[in-house]
Amino acid sequence: MLTKRIIPCLDIKNGRTVKGVRFENIRDAGDPVELAAWYAEQGADELVFLDITATNEERKTFAALVRDIARHIDIPFTVGGGIGAVADVEVLLQNGADKVSVNSSAIRNPQLVEELANRFGSQCVTVAIDTKYTEATGWKVYARAGTVETEHATVDWARRVTDLGAGEILLTSMNNDGTKAGFALDITGEVARAVTVPVIASGGAGNMQHFADVLQQANADAALAASLFHFRELEVPVLKSFLKEQGIDVRV
């Protein structure tokens, strides 16, 4: 039986792990390689590393970090942040990343998704979608780290990038992110039903029941969290035992 995946996410700036609460208020949560190896040992199913640095010089540091991560951990990992072109992806994959995630660059240029899928295969192309609900607009896709509203309705956009070759969707609800009040079950469920590829739910994890809810009720294939894990408010083995007791297939 294919198991549901639990994915710690590490935001990286200048080679260090950080976590933004509602995309602001950054705190330092340690050395990424050490943290990654610890998560792998704890039974995390995959890891996601998001490069939130801005300059090209810092991006080179990130590629070196990717290589260091690949050298030390024996589970799959996805890297994202600032990927704008096929050449960027090539560097990251060559350094040992298993998947890349694209977000704003796919919004700017949807053909990028198709180019990446054709060149490297859908299995390594994750499209990250930041979504926000307002009564006036419904669930809309946001670009540039959640700062710019786009014209795209979330479910339509998820369908479109999947048609272009995305192999996975990483869906973050900005309404829920940082609240610890639970994942956005409604939009996650809608997207999971709308696309044929796996969906990772992100944003809002505060306790173990939240994970059970999004994996069962919203039928997410994976659930992602950051600060909850980094500050050891919740440990992966404890979470997985809980999920198993709830009848959810997880790797333990």
């Binding site: 290589r67 060149r119 299995q123 390594c124 590829v197 796996p198």
Partner: protein, 193 residues
């Protein structure tokens, strides 16, 4: 031991190299005909799309070389699929080493089949020391049905070939280099063949 990882620009070569490093084993990365031919053991990784991978192999004449190899050989993921006769992925004639065909998943479940799934019906020394129901990491949209050359199965939802063996050619649909300690054991077992 002279261990060669075949590099044909379609492989997760670095990940395999790092996994071997973690086992304390050095390997050579090469796309050179003679280097591969002279190897004691060959690992043939692969991710991506079948027809472009075959084009890469042909450009290096490796489509002629690989079927003639007699040393222990290990195809991984797309590397396994390319060893078969034909893939439904862009209707591609593949290397024809293992008499099996590669089909597209036809299921209501999510495709790609992505994540950790369990192995069962384990056969051959490749799985020495592993328990039935061991978890390994898969990511693929095409599969080989269970057949006479199947040496491990997984289910999605129907059973399919998680690993194959034909003569000196071993192959895994999953990624041993990304499958934690279980995957490391499988690589170690291959090195001991």
């Amino acid at each position: 031991m002279n261990l060669v990882i075949v590099d044909y620009k379609a492989g997760n070569v670095q990940s395999v190299l790092f996994a071997l490093e973690r086992l304390g084993v050095q390997a050579t990365i090469s796309c050179d005909f003679e280097t591969i031919k002279a190897a004691d053991k060959v690992i043939f990784p692969g991710v991506g799309e079948a027809s472009s991978a075959m084009a890469q192999l042909k450009a290096r004449n490796l489509d002629k070389l690989l079927p003639t190899l007699e040393q222990p050989f290990f195809g991984v993921c797309l590397g396994m699929q390319l060893l078969c006769e034909h893939s439904e992925e862009n209707d591609t004639e593949t290397l024809g080493i293992i008499p099996e065909k590669v089909l597209r998943f036809q299921t209501d479940l999510k495709v790609p089949h992505m994540g950790w799934n369990q192995l069962h019906h384990l056969q051959t020394p490749l799985f020495e020391g592993l328990q039935e129901q061991e978890y390994v990491y898969f990511v693929h949209s095409y599969y080989v049905p269970v057949g006479p050359h199947t040496i491990a199965q997984a289910s999605y939802p129907e059973p399919f070939s998680a690993a194959l063996q034909y003569k000196n050619f071993y192959a895994a649909q999953f990624h041993p280099e990304k499958s934690g300690p279980a995957g490391a054991q499988i690589l170690k077992n291959f090195l001991a063949l």
